[in-house]
C-alpha cells in the first residue's frame, strides 16, 4: 500500500489510559477511606473495651467502700487491678478521695473536669500522668460516716500502650486490606477499560476493513454513546459518495464538451482546406488541423489522467488476463501503426497471465505506452509488446527502435508535464508516462523506462500477480 502519512490521525492521549487512571484514582481514594474507617472503628472498639474494663475496676473498688463510725473503710479488691492487666501491660494509677481529700493512691492524678454523677456511673476522661497519656474512669459514691453523707471519689487510670498497639496492629491489617483492594481494583479497571472500549475497537476495525469503493453507510449496531459518531460518519460517507459521483459526471461531461467542438473544428478546417487553393491559407488550415489534433490528444490525456487519479482512490479490482488485454490493445493501435508503416508485433507467453487489478487503469497505462512507442518510432520501424512473468510479478514490456531517451532517467520523464529533451518536433502533453507511473503506484507495481541496446526504448511495467 502506498504510505500516506496524512491519513494517520494526530492522537491526543488514550481513552483507555485515561479511564484506567481515573478508575485507579477512585480505587486509591476508596482504599484510603477503607483504611481510615477501619482504623477509626478499631480505635473506637478498643477504647470502648478499655473503658469498660476501667469502669469495672473502678466500680469494684467503689463497691467495697464502707461507712462507719471510724471513717470510710477502703479495701481495694485484688481483681480490680488484676483485670486491668488483661488488655496488656499498661501502667495503672489510682486515686481515692474522701470528701475532697486524697486518702490513698497518686495524689497528682488529675480529676475529671466535671464530677461524675452518682449511681456508680463511671465518667471516662483522657488526661496525662507522668508524661504518658492515660485513660481514666471516675465514680463517686456516698457513704455514711458518723451519720453524715460523705462523698468518696475513686479514679482509676491506665496508660494506653496496649490500646495503641492493638489499634496499630489493626491499622496494619487495614492497610494490607486497602492495598489488596487497590491491587484488585487496578486489575479490574484494566479489564473494565478494555471491555468498555471493545465496541469502539470493533467499529474502527469494521470501518478500516472496508474496500476502497465501499461507501455504504455503517449499519452494525453500536452502543448509544457511539451513535452520534456513526451518524456523523454516515453523513460524511454520503457527502463523499455524492461528491465522487459528481466528479465522475464532471469528467464525462468535460470530455464530451471539449472533444465534440474540437472534432467540429477539425472537420470544418478540413472542408475549408478542400475548398481553397491559396497555398498560404492551406498552410494555415493545416496548422489549425494539427493544433486541433494536438488539443484533442492533450484533452484526452488530461481526462485520462484525471480518471486515473480518480480511480486510484476508487479502484474496482478484478481478474484480468494481461495477454488478452495486450492483444486487444495492439489490435486497436493496428490502423495507426499501419499509417506509419510500423510493424506492431505482440509476443505473449503461452499460459494466460492473470492479475488482480483495475482494468481501466491497466488499459490506460498500456494505451499510453503504445501511443508513445508508435509516436516516437521512425516510419518503417518496429514496436513489440511482450507479456511475461518474472519473480512473482507480471511484466509488460513495450519495445521500440525509436530515438531513445538521450540519457533521461525514468524519474525525469514521469513528472507531470515533463518531456524528454529530444522530442520537441513531436506533439505531446507530457502526461503519458505520468499516467503510467500513477497506475503502477496505485496497483503496487513498478514502472521503468530504459534505453535499448542498438537504439530505441524499453518501457517496462511490472505488476504484482
Amino acid at each position: 500500500m502506498v504510505n500516506r502519512p496524512h491519513l494517520r490521525p494526530a492522537t491526543g492521549g488514550s481513552i483507555r489510559r485515561q479511564l484506567v487512571v481515573q478508575l485507579l484514582i477512585v480505587a486509591a481514594v476508596l482504599s484510603g477511606l477503607l483504611y481510615l474507617s477501619v482504623r477509626g472503628v478499631a480505635d473506637t472498639a478498643v477504647e470502648t473495651t478499655q473503658d469498660s474494663i476501667l469502669g469495672a475496676a473502678t466500680i469494684a473498688i467503689a463497691e467495697e467502700l464502707r461507712g462507719g463510725e471510724d471513717g470510710v473503710s477502703i479495701d481495694i479488691p485484688y481483681t480490680a487491678f488484676s483485670m486491668l492487666g488483661s488488655i496488656g501491660e499498661d501502667r495503672v494509677f489510682y486515686r481515692i478521695l474522701v470528701g475532697g481529700e486524697t486518702v490513698t493512691g497518686y495524689p497528682d492524678l488529675a480529676l475529671p473536669e466535671s464530677p461524675p454523677g452518682s449511681g456508680l456511673d463511671p465518667r471516662f476522661f483522657t488526661t496525662s500522668y507522668d508524661g504518658s497519656e492515660v485513660r481514666a474512669a471516675a465514680v463517686v459514691r456516698s457513704v455514711l460516716v458518723e451519720g453524715r453523707n460523705t462523698e468518696v471519689m475513686v479514679i482509676v487510670a491506665q496508660t494506653r500502650g496496649a490500646k495503641d498497639a492493638i489499634v496499630a496492629q489493626m491499622a496494619n491489617r487495614a492497610a494490607l486490606l486497602g492495598l489488596g483492594f487497590f491491587a484488585l481494583a487496578a486489575v479490574l479497571s484494566v479489564i473494565t477499560a478494555r471491555s468498555v472500549l471493545n465496541p469502539v475497537q470493533r467499529l474502527a476495525e469494521a470501518v478500516g476493513r472496508r474496500g476502497p469503493d465501499d461507501l455504504r453507510p455503517v449499519e452494525r449496531p453500536v452502543p448509544s454513546e457511539l451513535a452520534p459518531l456513526v451518524r456523523a460518519l454516515n453523513g460524511f460517507i454520503a457527502r463523499l459518495s455524492g461528491a465522487l459521483s459528481r466528479t465522475e459526471t464532471f469528467i464525462a461531461e468535460a470530455a464530451h464538451h471539449i472533444r465534440t467542438p474540437l472534432a467540429t473544428l477539425r472537420t470544418q478546417a478540413e472542408i475549408a482546406l478542400r475548398k481553397t487553393d491559396d497555398e498560404a491559407t492551406r498552410d494555415s488550415l493545416r496548422a489549425m488541423i494539427r493544433a486541433a489534433d494536438d488539443s484533442a490528444r492533450s484533452a484526452g490525456q488530461l481526462l485520462d489522467h484525471a480518471a486515473v487519479v480518480y480511480r486510484t482512490d476508487q479502484r474496482t479490482e478484478e481478474r484480468i488476463d494481461l495477454c488478452q488485454l495486450a492483444r486487444d490493445m495492439s489490435d486497436s493501435f493496428g490502423p495507426t501503426a499501419d499509417i506509419r508503416d510500423i510493424d506492431l508485433t505482440t509476443d505473449l507467453c503461452a499460459p494466460p497471465v492473470e492479475i488482480t487489478a483495475d482494468r481501466l487503469l491497466v488499459e490506460s497505462a498500456l494505451r499510453n505506452l503504445l501511443d508513445n512507442a508508435i509516436k516516437y518510432s521512425l516510419p518503417d520501424g518496429s514496436v513489440a509488446v511482450t507479456v511475461g512473468t518474472d519473480g512473482g510479478r507480471a511484466v509488460i514490456r513495450v519495445l521500440d527502435r525509436g530515438r531513445g531517451l538521450s540519457g533521461a532517467r525514468t524519474t525525469q520523464l514521469t513528472g507531470r508535464f515533463r518531456r524528454g529533451t529530444n522530442v520537441a518536433d513531436v506533439v505531446g502533453s507530457g502526461l503519458g508516462l505520468t499516467i503510467v507511473r500513477e497506475v503502477a503506484r496505485a496497483q503496487g507495481g513498478e514502472f521503468r523506462i530504459t534505453e535499448r541496446e542498438g537504439g530505441g526504448t524499453c518501457a517496462e511495467l511490472s505488476l504484482p500477480l
Binding site: 479495701d75 485484688y78 492487666g85 501491660e89 501502667r91 495503672v92 490513698t104 507522668d130
Partner: protein
C-alpha cells in the same frame, strides 16, 4: 587465689568512700574488673546474698572483663526505698519482692530493655520490657517428719486438721514470716490470702499455737533442722533444698491445693548511670548459659514453663497490676491489722 580475692574485696570495702545512703545496706562488695582496665562500673542493688550471686558475677566478668561490679545487698523494703524515694544511682535492682518491683516499674522508675533473651521470656515472667524474672522459686513448708503423727499433710486443709488434732505437738513450734518486717513474708501472706479463704482459717489455728515469727527463711530452716520448730510455713524452697540435711528429718512440703512460685526479678532503674552494662547483665542472666549457671551454681531454679507444667499445683505469682493492690498503704495497714489479729493472739 580465693583468699587474695577476698582480701582485695575487703580492701576495697574499706577504701570505698561511704556513699551518703539514706537506706540501710547489709553488705557491699566490689568485684574489680579482671582485665585491669576498668570501664564504668556496673552497680547492682540486690536482695540476694552476695555468696549466692557471686558465681554469676564471675561468669559475667569472664565475658566482660572490663566491667567492675559493685554489689550491694539490702532488704526488699530498702531496695524499694532507695529507688522510689531517694533516687539512688544503681544500674540494676534485683529483688524477690515482686510487688515492690512492680510498683517501681508501674510508677515509671524503670528503663525499658528489649533484646532477644528478654523477648524469649514467657509472658508471665516479664512486664513491659522493664521487669524480668530470672528465677522461679516455689514457696513451701518445711516440716519435721517426727512432729507429724503419720503422713505429712498434702494440702492446707490437711495441715489445719493435723494442727487441731494434736495442738500439743505444735504449740510454740510453728515458724512463719512476720509480714510486718519481711517484704517476702508480706508478699506470701497476701498472695495466700487472695488465693484462698483457707489461709485465714490456717492463720487462726496457727495463731492459737503461739507461732514464732521470723525475718528470714534461713533462720526458720535452721530451727526446723535443730528441732526447735516442728514446721516452718511459707519458706523459699530453693534455700531449703540447699540447706537441708538429706539424712535429717526435715522435709519440704509443696502443698497440692496450691503452691505459689515467687519470681526473682531484675529491673534497670531510670537513674542508672550505666544502663548498657545493666542490659548486658540482664541478657546474660536470661541467656541459656546464664540460666544453666543459675541452676547449677546458685541453687535457684531457672525460668521454666516445663517445670510449671509438670506440677500443676505450682502457681507463679503473676507480674500484673494486681500486685499494686497490696502495696497501697491503706490496704497494707488493713491487711496487717487483720493478720496480727489472727496470728498474734494474746
Amino acid at each position: 587465689m580465693r583468699r587474695t580475692i577476698a582480701a582485695l574485696v575487703i580492701a576495697f570495702c574499706v577504701a570505698l568512700p561511704r556513699l551518703a545512703l539514706g537506706f540501710d545496706v547489709e553488705e557491699e562488695q566490689v568485684f574489680p574488673a579482671p582485665s585491669g582496665a576498668p570501664t564504668a562500673p556496673l552497680r547492682i542493688l540486690s536482695t540476694t546474698d552476695t555468696e549466692i550471686f557471686a558465681p554469676l558475677l564471675d561468669a559475667f566478668q569472664a565475658d566482660n572483663p572490663d566491667v567492675p561490679i559493685h554489689y550491694t545487698v539490702a532488704s526488699t523494703q530498702e531496695v524499694y526505698k532507695a529507688l522510689h524515694d531517694e533516687g539512688a544511682a544503681f544500674d540494676l535492682a534485683v529483688s524477690s519482692a515482686m510487688d515492690l518491683q512492680m510498683k517501681l516499674a508501674n510508677d515509671g522508675f524503670a528503663l525499658s530493655h528489649r533484646s532477644a533473651p528478654t523477648q524469649a521470656l514467657p509472658g508471665w515472667a516479664r512486664w513491659r520490657d522493664q521487669l524480668f524474672a530470672f528465677a522461679q522459686e516455689p514457696v513451701v513448708m518445711i516440716a519435721s517428719a517426727r512432729a507429724f503423727d503419720g503422713p505429712l499433710p498434702r494440702t492446707r486443709s490437711d495441715l489445719i486438721r493435723a494442727l487441731r488434732d494434736r495442738p500439743e505437738a505444735f504449740d510454740g513450734r510453728i515458724g512463719t514470716y512476720d509480714p510486718n518486717r519481711s517484704g517476702a513474708g508480706y508478699l506470701f501472706a497476701t498472695q495466700d490470702a487472695r488465693q484462698s479463704d483457707t489461709y485465714w482459717r490456717l492463720s487462726e489455728v496457727m495463731g492459737g499455737l503461739s507461732p514464732r515469727l521470723y525475718d528470714t527463711t534461713g533462720a526458720m530452716i535452721a530451727d526446723v533442722q535443730s528441732g526447735k520448730l516442728a514446721l516452718a510455713y511459707n519458706v523459699l524452697g530453693s534455700y531449703a533444698e540447699a540447706q537441708l540435711d538429706p539424712d535429717g528429718d526435715a522435709r519440704i512440703v509443696a502443698f497440692e491445693d496450691f503452691t505459689h512460685v515467687l519470681l526473682r526479678t531484675a529491673l534497670i532503674p531510670r537513674t542508672a548511670p550505666n544502663p548498657d552494662a545493666a542490659g548486658a547483665f540482664v541478657d546474660f542472666l536470661l541467656s541459656g548459659d546464664g540460666q544453666r549457671l543459675i541452676a547449677s551454681e546458685t541453687g535457684l531454679p531457672p525460668i521454666s514453663e516445663a517445670a510449671l507444667a509438670a506440677d500443676p499445683y505450682l502457681r507463679p505469682i503473676r507480674l500484673d497490676p494486681g500486685l499494686l493492690v497490696f502495696v497501697d498503704p491503706l490496704k497494707r495497714q488493713r491487711f496487717l491489722n487483720e493478720w496480727t489479729a489472727a496470728v498474734v493472739q494474746p
